[in-house]
Structures are given as structure tokens and as C-alpha cells.
């Protein structure tokens, strides 16, 4: 057993109405790779925020190197050798790498020295990074490297990583793991947060599993199967979704060699995108975040107009039509961002039901809204998709992520579409809600609709897709049957590791 680095004793944190952490205790040894495992809402984030000084525990103590440790703010945690890489990056697109790193430091050295140190550290750990490049031009994987290098410059004893692989291709994940193993070998402990079980089994030598804010187990993940870990995490036996076998149908949606500039200066333009979607088919589109997924959804939903004939719905050119024109013809969409895009946060569920359904459901006559009919439509969605909420008068933002997602996807499915486009349908959603949503999409395909799922969750795509394609810098690969594809194949379709290979080979 290695010398203990950080010991947590009975950490408890309650928010109004919910206990985020209840009496959590465990130890992290020096140089240990320790996994923190749990579903969304299990309390992982709150726990690491307490270690990083962002949240103050109500009860319990921490010891670092055997000494009491109670950071009041992140800078204090950093001074004590605790660093953290967040899931959502805090970087400025319009500044270069070195400037971004300097902004996160207490006493940044002159930029020229800093640039040199960034080069040194990034070479040493196989994370190639050009300090002079604008962050806005970097891929998600490269942005993460900026965050990691920023942490490494502080020479941390404990590095906390929150869901680091959600933005990486499988090959990039391999490279990240090499870096982390190297750090661990040099004595830096790593607290690795994830809900991806295979990753944790490959990387970590100890895992603490949280469920509902409590610690349910500490174990060696290499000695457990992924299924055992999952059941510990969820607390119930999981059943994979069912899918009826079905013959191939007619083409319902066809995109033909479409190129389209992004509406966002740091977005990704679509380049020569072509695909077809048939009745009853589930087409999964993979890709690392920021490779054109948002643009693809906007283009298909009608929010970003395209040349008319390039997009054909049931043989009709629809590229010029806006969202409502396409909805009337049977194409609906559910964007990735639930709050603010698919739903208005400060409006009731009734008003949010009206948002996309007004025309197709006939909820307004000559522009005058039939609120009673709209409310009963909202009630239908709530009942059929098991949305847990007191009623349709509740504001959208009061719902949990999973419940709002069920509502949003349910709303679109209730429109009885011929084609549905969804982006990240189960992102940030608990396992039970995710299963409901996947099953609903499969059922819709079973009824003959074409379903297009854009997702960064490969397991999800492999579970529900008939065919498979990947987005890489705005280009879409050829569509391949999903059956028989390995994770490695998919990784290569997603663009592999690009230039990242070189670094480790050179340093190896």
C-alpha cells in the first residue's frame, strides 16, 4: 500500500431538498489512479468541488499528507498541489494558448518564458501544443490539452479529471491514458471521474462508487466486470433496449453533397456532406464534439437554410424551408441543448409544448392559441413519456435534465414524424431516462420513421443504430452497417488521433 495522499472522512454536503454527499470517506494514495464512479446526480461533482475548494462541506474532514486540509477557495487548493481539469473548458476562443494558460495562473511568468515552459511540459508528457495558436482554432482534444498543461505547470500532487474522455476519439483516449500513466509513475495521484466503465477498468487501480450521494463500494475495478460495476452504480439490473428486426424501406431523407458555412465564427462548416436515411432505419452519426454536429442539426432542422435541392424529404426539395415548413412535411428535430434551444427555461411545459408543435398539432387557429388543447397535449407527453413533474404549469428549468429531455424528445415523437433528428439524446441523463429515450426512438423507427441520432456516446450509437457514419471536421464518412463495427473501426472513422500519434512515438 502506497503512502496516503488525501484522506476524506465523512464528507457531507446538503443543498436545499437534496443531500449531494452523505458521509463519504475514502483514501487516495500517492501516485494512485483512483476512479470516482457514479451516475449523473450521484454526487461526484460536489465531492470533487469540495476537494478543489469550490464548495465547503457541511460536515466531515479532509487530510492532505496527514495534515488537515480545508481549502476555502481553488487557489488555496492549487497551492497545496491539487489541480483540476473540468469537463467544460474555461478557455477564451479569441486568445492564444499561452495567454489562456497565463490567465489561469496566480503569478504568470512573462509570456515568452511561459511559452517555452508550455513547449517543455507538452513534449515531456506527449501532449503536443503550439503556445502561439488561437484557442478558437483548436479541436476539443487540443483544448483539453491546454487545460491539462495548465495544471501540469503547477506541478500537482493530485490531478482531478472530470469526464475527460467525453470529447476525445478512442485513439486520443489512448494517448491521454499514456500521459496519465506517466504522471502516475512519477508520483502524481489522479482522481478520475467517469461513468465509462471499460475506461476505468483499463486505467485505474482503485475505484470508489457513489450512488445517491453515498459511497456504495470501494473496489479494484480490474477485478470486477463492467456489468457488475454498472449494477453497483445504478443499483438495479439493467436491460438493454429491444429492437424488432425490419426490412429496409424507401428513402425518406436525402442529403446530397452539401457544403454549408457555420453561423458561428468558431463553428465548423459542413463540407460535401451526403447521406440517405430510409424508413425504419436508425442512422447513428458519431464524432468528437465540435466537428460539425451542431451545424448538421441546424441544417437538418431548418434553422440554417441550405440550397433547396441538396436536402430532400420524401423526394421533395426542402433545403430552403425553415423549421415550421419542414415540420409540416414530417421532419422534426431535438437539438442537443435542452434549456435555451429545445425548450425555453422560463416558460411552462405547456408553453414549451406549443413551441414546436403549434402547426403540426393544430394548437393555434389563425394564429390564436388554443391554450386548453395545448395543455392537454403537454399532459399527454408527460403521461406517455413518464416525465416526473407536478404538472404542465411547471417551468422547464425546474425539471431535471433527464425529465426535461424525456419531455423534449417526447414532444417531437408525439408529432408523429416521418423523420426525426436528435443530437445527444441522452447527454447528462440518468440511466433509467436514457433507456426510456432510446427505447422510444427505436419504437418510432419500428413504426416506420427514419431516425437520425447524432451522439458522442459510442456505446449508445452501437446499441441503437442500424447504420453508422462519423463527422470529422465537417466531413461525413460513408455510411456503413453498424453490425460488425469495432470501436477501433469507429475511432478511425472519427479521424483517429491525427497528429497526436507522433508525440508519443517520438518520445517513446
Amino acid at each position: 500500500m502506497r503512502a496516503p495522499l488525501l484522506r476524506l472522512d465523512g464528507l457531507t454536503k446538503a443543498y436545499p431538498g437534496v443531500v449531494a454527499n452523505d458521509d463519504v470517506s475514502f483514501e487516495i494514495g500517492e501516485g494512485q489512479m483512483h476512479a470516482l464512479l457514479g451516475e449523473n446526480g450521484a454526487g461526484k461533482s460536489t465531492l470533487v468541488k469540495m476537494i478543489y475548494g469550490l464548495v465547503k462541506p457541511d460536515k466531515g474532514r479532509m487530510h492532505l499528507h496527514g495534515k488537515p486540509f480545508a481549502p476555502a477557495k481553488p487557489s488555496e487548493a492549487r497551492r497545496n498541489g491539487v489541480a483540476m481539469v473540468f469537463q467544460h473548458f474555461s478557455l477564451f476562443d479569441a486568445l492564444d494558448v499561452a495567454e489562456n494558460v497565463a490567465l489561469g495562473m496566480e503569478n504568470p511568468p512573462p509570456l515568452r518564458d511561459l511559452a517555452q515552459r508550455i513547449r517543455d511540459v507538452s513534449e515531456e508528457y506527449g501532449l503536443p501544443l503550439d503556445p502561439a495558436r488561437l484557442v478558437g482554432e483548436l479541436s476539443a482534444g487540443e483544448r483539453q490539452r491546454v487545460e491539462i498543461v495548465r495544471c501540469l505547470l503547477q506541478d500537482p500532487k493530485l490531478l482531478i479529471m472530470d469526464e475527460p474522455t467525453s470529447v476525445l476519439t478512442p485513439q486520443e483516449v489512448d494517448i491521454l491514458f499514456l500521459t496519465l500513466r506517466k504522471l502516475s509513475a512519477e508520483g502524481t495521484a489522479i482522481l478520475y471521474i467517469s461513468h465509462k466503465l471499460e475506461e476505468i477498468r483499463a486505467l485505474c487501480d482503485e475505484a470508489t462508487i457513489l450512488r445517491g450521494g453515498r459511497k456504495v463500494a470501494t473496489c479494484d475495478p480490474r477485478e470486477k466486470s463492467a456489468r457488475e460495476l454498472a449494477e453497483l452504480m445504478v443499483g438495479q439490473v439493467l436491460t438493454p433496449p429491444e429492437r424488432p428486426a425490419k426490412p429496409k424501406g424507401d428513402v425518406v431523407l436525402q442529403v446530397d453533397n452539401l457544403s454549408l458555412a457555420s453561423n458561428n465564427p468558431f463553428g465548423t462548416s459542413l463540407k460535401n456532406v451526403s447521406f440517405t436515411l430510409r424508413k425504419g432505419e436508425v442512422l447513428g452519426i458519431a464524432g468528437v464534439a465540435g466537428n460539425g454536429q451542431d451545424e448538421l442539426l441546424l441544417m437538418l432542422s431548418g434553422e440554417l437554410p441550405a440550397p433547396s435541392v441538396r436536402v430532400q424529404l420524401k423526394g421533395k426539395p426542402v433545403g430552403h424551408l425553415g423549421p415550421n415548413g419542414r415540420r409540416l412535411l414530417g421532419l422534426v428535430a431535438a437539438p442537443e441543448e435542452r434549456l435555451g434551444h429545445a425548450a425555453a427555461p422560463d416558460m411552462s411545459l405547456t408553453a414549451n409544448a406549443l413551441l414546436s408543435a403549434s402547426r403540426r398539432k393544430g394548437l393555434a387557429k389563425h394564429g390564436f392559441i388554443d391554450w386548453r388543447k395545448t395543455e392537454s397535449f403537454a399532459r399527454d407527453i408527460i403521461a406517455r413519456f413518464d416525465v416526473r413533474t407536478p404538472g404542465p404549469h411547471v417551468l422547464a428549468r425546474a425539471l431535471s435534465g433527464g425529465n426535461l429531455q424525456k419531455f423534449v424528445i417526447g414532444r417531437e415523437i408525439e408529432l408523429d414524424p416521418d423523420v426525426i433528428i436528435v443530437n445527444q439524446p441522452t447527454w447528462g441523463v440518468d440511466a433509467a431516462a436514457a433507456a426510456t429515450i432510446r427505447q422510444a426512438l427505436l419504437d418510432l423507427a419500428g413504426k416506420g420513421a427514419g431516425v437520425l441520432v447524432i451522439s458522442q456516446d459510442l456505446d449508445e450509437l452501437l446499441e441503437i443504430s442500424d447504420s453508422f457514419a462519423a463527422l470529422n471536421e465537417g466531413r461525413l464518412t460513408d455510411t456503413r452497417p453498424a453490425k460488425g463495427l469495432s470501436v477501433e473501426d469507429i475511432g478511425l472513422m472519427m479521424g483517429g488521433a491525427g497528429d497526436m500519434h507522433v508525440a508519443h512515438e517520438a518520445s517513446a
Binding site: 425553415g322 437539438p335 441543448e337 435555451g340 434551444h341 416558460m347 394564429g367 417551468l395
Partner: protein, 361 residues
């Protein structure tokens, strides 16, 4: 230690209570100001807020004035509120008000001295069109070149004022009275006169128009898809685009509605209480209406109440000048304080003040 805590949901109670509280605080601060000017604060406040309606001496004069002053404020504010809800900020209603008056008066002066029932309706259309046209300048610049409608609409007020002066001194000047600036008095031209509909009530066509606008706005915001889209665009612009709302179309609609209503207000004023195109015709209704819109919570019913209150301060201010020799600027200070206190108080709709003991170690 005092801490600010963001509320999970904006407080409904304070949303309603704050405008009333702002009025009370304004009265208190106003009383202090009057005391410092050496006037009896109780008398001054009573003179401004109560005497115009309840006094035996002035009531018969000032009661009808209440509707005359409030109607343009309400008419303009109702239009502005629609845009404000969509985060489209028309600050230049004063300019649109002037252009509406000029267009309306232009039609009247073109027909003078012919009789005809159709002249007044034509003036109404022309007034609305004038305001609409003036508001289309910031609208089109915004949709084409992404300019800021706040700046463009505001700056166009000063352009409109110059045009007003040029008209009063030039084309529209009364040819029968040599040497005096200003147009013919439309009140003496029967076909164009926006006369009182019921004697000594102050009710003229502008009051009727304001009432109709309030009802239309209320129905639109609560029952019509356009109102829903306006609110959606204001609260969640991306969700609005997802719902199929075109942002450019909404800019044109919102600025168009508020411009047309401001133009109408100007037209009813110039053909009635104002009477003629003069250099000093515009008295700030377009700006005060912004306060009315906010004090009324951008809600048509609230705007009626706020419009009446601000109308009252206009009349009370005039009484104060006549009787207590209060400075004319006092009333602008009053109106400014109202908005100031309201915005300050609104802080607590979204935040909560917490007193906590210093428990930090």
C-alpha cells in the same frame, strides 16, 4: 456580513409590489428634495399627486387633463413594451411621435380649408405611417447591417426635432400670420380637429385609440402566436429560432408596431391638445413612455395604471410651478427617480439579501 443570494425563481410578490414601493420611495425622496428647496414637503406632494384629482379648486381643470396627458403615454408605452419583451429596444419613440404628428398635420394642411369626413381618418393613417416609417430606419439598418437599434432610434429623435423645427419655420408655417413660427391651428379646422368627444372629460380619439391598443396588445401577448414568439425571442432566442421565428422579421414587426403607435400619439396630439406644428411641440412623451412601460411591467394593464400616474405627475408639476413656484425640472427629477427606484428595487426580484454571521474560519 450581508450576502446576495440568487433566487431560484424570480419572486412574484416583489414583481408586483416593487412598482408601488417605487412610487412611495419617490414621494419620500421628493419630499426631502422639496424641503431642501424650502417648500413645505407635505403641501408639495399633495399638490402633485392628489390635488389634480381631488382638489375643488383645480379639479375641474385638471381632471380632464389627466386623460389628455396619459393617453399618448399609454399609446406609446404599449407599443414599446411589445418590443422590450422581445429584447428589441426602441428608445426613439419621441422621434416617431414627432414624425407621426408631421405626417398627420401634413395631410390636414394639404386639404385646408376643404371640408370632408375622410380627412381625419386619412390623418390617422398618415400619422401611423409616419411613425412606422421613422422606426423602419433603425429596423432595416439592424437587419441589414446589424447596427444597434438603441443608438440609431435615439439619434433619430434629434434628426426628427430638426425636421420639426424646419417644418414649423418653413413649409408648414401659417401663411396668414406673418412673422410667427408655427402652423395653422388645426383646432380651428373642423375636418382635422381631434376634438373632445364628451365635454369636459378629456376624452378625444387618442384616448379611444389608447384603449383599443391596450386591448389588442393584451390579446396578442396572451392568446396569439405572435405574442408567444415575441416572448420566446426575448427569453430564449435560440429556442425562438428553433420554433421557426425569424429574428429579422420580429425586429421589423416590433419596431413597426411601436413606431406606428408613437406616430398615432403624435398625430392625435397635434390635431387636438397640441393644436399646431410648433418648434416646442414635443414635450418628452416618447421618453416618459419608456418609464411607463417599465413601471407597468411591460403588461398592458400595468401600463394603463403607470400611464395614469405619470400623466398625473405632468399635471401636478404644472400646478406646482404655478402655485409653489417649483422649478419645472422638478417633475423630470420625479420621473427619473421613479425609474431609478424601480430598477434598484427590482434587484430583489432576482436576489435575496441574507444577513449571515461570519462563520468562515
Amino acid at each position: 456580513m450581508i450576502r446576495l443570494e440568487k433566487r431560484k425563481e424570480p419572486s412574484k410578490f416583489w414583481r408586483i409590489a416593487n412598482p408601488f414601493l417605487a412610487v412611495v420611495l419617490t414621494m419620500l425622496a421628493g419630499a426631502v428634495m422639496f424641503a431642501m428647496l424650502g417648500k413645505d414637503p407635505v403641501v408639495a406632494i399633495r399638490l402633485i399627486f392628489f390635488d389634480p384629482i381631488f382638489s375643488d379648486t383645480f379639479g375641474s381643470y385638471s381632471r380632464p387633463q389627466l386623460l389628455i396627458k396619459s393617453a399618448p403615454l399609454i399609446l406609446i408605452a404599449v407599443g414599446l413594451a411589445v418590443g422590450f419583451k422581445a429584447n428589441i429596444w426602441n428608445i426613439g419613440a419621441e422621434g416617431q411621435y414627432i414624425m407621426g404628428a408631421l405626417f398627420g398635420a401634413g395631410v390636414a394642411l394639404a386639404f385646408f380649408p376643404a371640408p370632408g369626413w375622410y380627412i381625419f381618418p386619412l390623418m390617422v393613417l398618415a400619422g401611423a405611417f409616419g411613425g412606422f416609417l421613422w422606426a423602419m430606419i433603425p429596423a432595416i439598418l439592424k437587419t441589414r447591417f446589424n447596427t444597434n437599434e438603441i443608438l440609431v432610434s435615439l439619434l433619430l429623435v434629434y434628426v426628427a426635432e430638426k425636421i420639426l423645427a424646419a417644418m414649423a419655420l418653413g413649409v408648414m408655417r401659417n401663411p396668414d400670420i406673418a412673422g410667427f413660427p408655427g402652423s395653422r391651428d388645426l383646432r380651428r379646422y373642423e375636418a382635422a380637429h381631434n376634438a373632445e368627444l364628451f365635454a369636459n372629460t378629456g376624452i378625444h380619439w387618442g384616448v379611444v385609440a389608447a384603449l383599443i391598443a391596450v386591448i389588442f396588445a393584451y390579446v396578442m401577448m396572451t392568446r396569439h402566436m405572435l405574442g408567444f414568439h415575441v416572448q420566446l425571442a426575448g427569453q430564449a432566442p435560440r429556442a425562438a429560432r428553433f420554433a421557426g421565428v425569424s429574428p429579422a422579421r420580429l425586429v421589423v414587426i416590433c419596431l413597426g408596431i411601436s413606431g406606428a403607435l408613437a406616430g398615432l400619439a403624435g398625430m392625435f396630439e397635434v390635431s387636438g391638445p397640441g393644436g399646431q406644428v410648433r418648434i416646442e411641440f414635443a414635450t418628452g412623451y416618447g421618453f416618459t413612455a419608456i418609464i411607463v412601460a417599465f413601471l407597468g411591467r411591460l403588461n398592458p394593464i400595468g401600463i394603463v395604471l403607470a400611464g395614469l400616474l405619470l400623466g398625473l405627475t405632468y399635471i401636478g408639476g404644472e400646478l406646482g410651478q404655478m402655485i409653489l413656484q417649483l422649478p419645472g425640472a422638478a417633475i423630470q427629477v420625479f420621473q427619473g427617480m421613479l425609474l431609478f427606484f424601480l430598477l434598484a428595487l427590482d434587484f430583489q426580484t432576482n436576489y435575496r439579501l441574507r444577513l449571515s454571521k461570519g462563520v468562515r474560519t
